[in-house]
Symmetry: C2
Subunit: 330 residues, 2 copies
């Protein structure tokens, strides 16, 4: 027996909003928000659909956590501190109590760890896959938002974490026969799956991006394609070296067994790492301060003139090209 | 041949955001918003799904207009002035140019008439029905939001416009055989369909609600059920008279032919009229000032003690009950 719409809100979601009066118990037409004086808001809105962005059978708490994480990642990339979010939940059928309680628990935990509160939203029934839209709201001192379009010639191109982990996680989940040939350890398989199911937005980078980055974005549709978008938005070109891109030991093991997989690693989606451009003289400070927060950042290349576009150099210094630079829905 | 994701954004949606720098050309991870000092934001998020909230074959410009209208209606009910919105568009397939251009035109016109600008959003592909989520943002002087939960004993219950028009419009579109028996004129049929396809949020009421209303909400899931929600949120009861509910001449013609249809009129969804509670001594001023803006408002009852719940009185002064008070997704 499924849970009613009324129960979804009153029993599972309203408790998440109990401590913030602006949510009005999720029982009003809208929520209110009193912006902090001297601050701008930064707002992002992303939809996640079962079968596209997550699996319909993934654990409910991880689905909820990922939906919030990918939106928070957009705020982080803009150097905004998360403050609140709205959730629209379109469910194919009335959920059962176990699923709904897992979903609410995942949302609660994610909201706590990102410091952002549930303001409101909507619950509907869809004749299609589970569809989750989150609107995330962050704040930052007036005029300090970091954009995609402001990279400068000579800036270093820097990326956080390790690239391609989530793309491998998706492959492990969908085509385990293929990944078996690589002889990966159970720990490596779990690490890839975790990256896909439970991405971690890089919150510690918020103040550092504000201080050091000339431009930034989060890597959600593949490193190469997303970097190309940043360059295009900035009207610049750039060069990166494939052998500088940070990969995990497990990913390196795959590359050793099957060198062609490097394309999947650098063009596959769902990294939610932060790609930033940093003036050369500030790179060391950015790297050191990020490391102090437990986030590794790696210099992978440099911004150059627009006419050369994005050049990706292989280990032999020759340009490498890829079939599909990044994920497109259609 | 369908349009690519890149083209949807750059060619059809970005032009709507050209004049507002916060949207960053819809080419960044997020948008920014600089709140007006001394003001609160009011935020609403509603999802509309083909087959539930509109027909998949409805004209694209009307689909877009309705998606924005129903969200703006929530802001109006809170006495907020619309300022901006985000759009998440989940499309079952790559749209053709005619559909996409109609959709963008409808959005543009609606945005202009409500004075709110496109800030950002998301475009995805869905293995299901067309799904549109809009997050609408309004503003009002700090602390002046009108809630659902603050109706007071003795307040008059007042509703704008005419009730049940959209519910009849849906019936006309879905079961024309049934509506033929009522001998409605083509003009009446068109009026009902228009109410369903192109709801008009009551923007002129924003300053009046701020001045006069003790509580308000928009009627989206049926007058009776929504009023019951307002009473419950306020911890109050109330009495309304069915013969005081404002119906159009065409709706009255249906009631005359088939008295049972009154239930559809007062419990059917999609009215997007404003239900408000107004202190008795202010009702006349509210009515007169609304009329000056071209909006009729009608007193239909009064707030009373909680223990009596919602009483709906028929023409014979006897209480009337309905099978389903309002729309529930599940």
């Amino acid at each position: 027996m499924g849970i009613s719409e009324e129960e979804i809100i009153s029993r599972y979601l309203a408790p998440l909003a109990r401590q913030n009066p602006e949510a009005l118990g999720l029982r009003d037409d809208a929520a209110w928000l009193r912006p902090k004086s001297g601050h701008d808001l930064v707002i992002s809105c992303d939809t996640l659909i079962a079968g596209v962005h997550f699996g319909a059978d993934d654990p409910a708490d991880l689905i909820a956590g990922k939906a919030l994480a990918v939106n928070i990642s957009d705020l982080v990339a803009k150097a905004a501190t998360p403050v609140a979010y709205l959730l629209s939940l379109a469910l194919p059928k009335a959920p059962d109590a176990a699923w709904m309680s897992g979903f609410a628990a995942g949302l609660k935990q994610a909201g706590r760890s990102y410091g952002c509160r549930l303001l409101g939203g909507d619950t509907t029934r869809i004749g299609g896959p589970l569809t989750i839209t989150i609107t995330a709201i962050g704040e930052l001192p007036t005029g300090t938002m970091v954009r995609r379009s402001t990279a400068k010639a000579g800036d270093k191109i820097v990326v956080s974490g390790q690239i391609g982990e989530a793309a491998m996680g998706l492959l492990v989940r969908q085509q385990s026969a293929q990944t078996k040939r690589w002889g990966l350890s159970p720990a490596a398989l779990a690490q890839f799956e975790r990256a896909y199911l439970a991405p971690q937005p890089r919150l510690p980078l918020v103040p550092l991006l504000r201080r050091y980055a000339t431009a930034a974005m989060d890597v959600s549709d593949g490193l190469i394609g997303d970097l190309a978008k940043l360059l295009s938005a900035s009207g610049m070109g750039g060069v990166i070296r494939l052998d500088a891109v940070p990969f995990s030991d497990a990913a390196r093991q795959i590359i050793a067994a099957d060198p062609g997989q490097i394309e999947r690693l650098v063009t596959g989606g769902d990294d939610y790492e932060i790609l930033a451009t940093i003036p050369a003289k500030a790179v060391e400070a950015y790297r050191r301060e990020a490391a102090a927060f437990g986030v590794d950042v790696t210099e992978i290349g440099e911004i150059g003139a627009a006419d050369n576009g994005l050049q990706v150099l292989g280990p032999d210094d020759k340009p490498v090209t890829f079939k599909t630079a990044s994920f497109q829905h259609f």
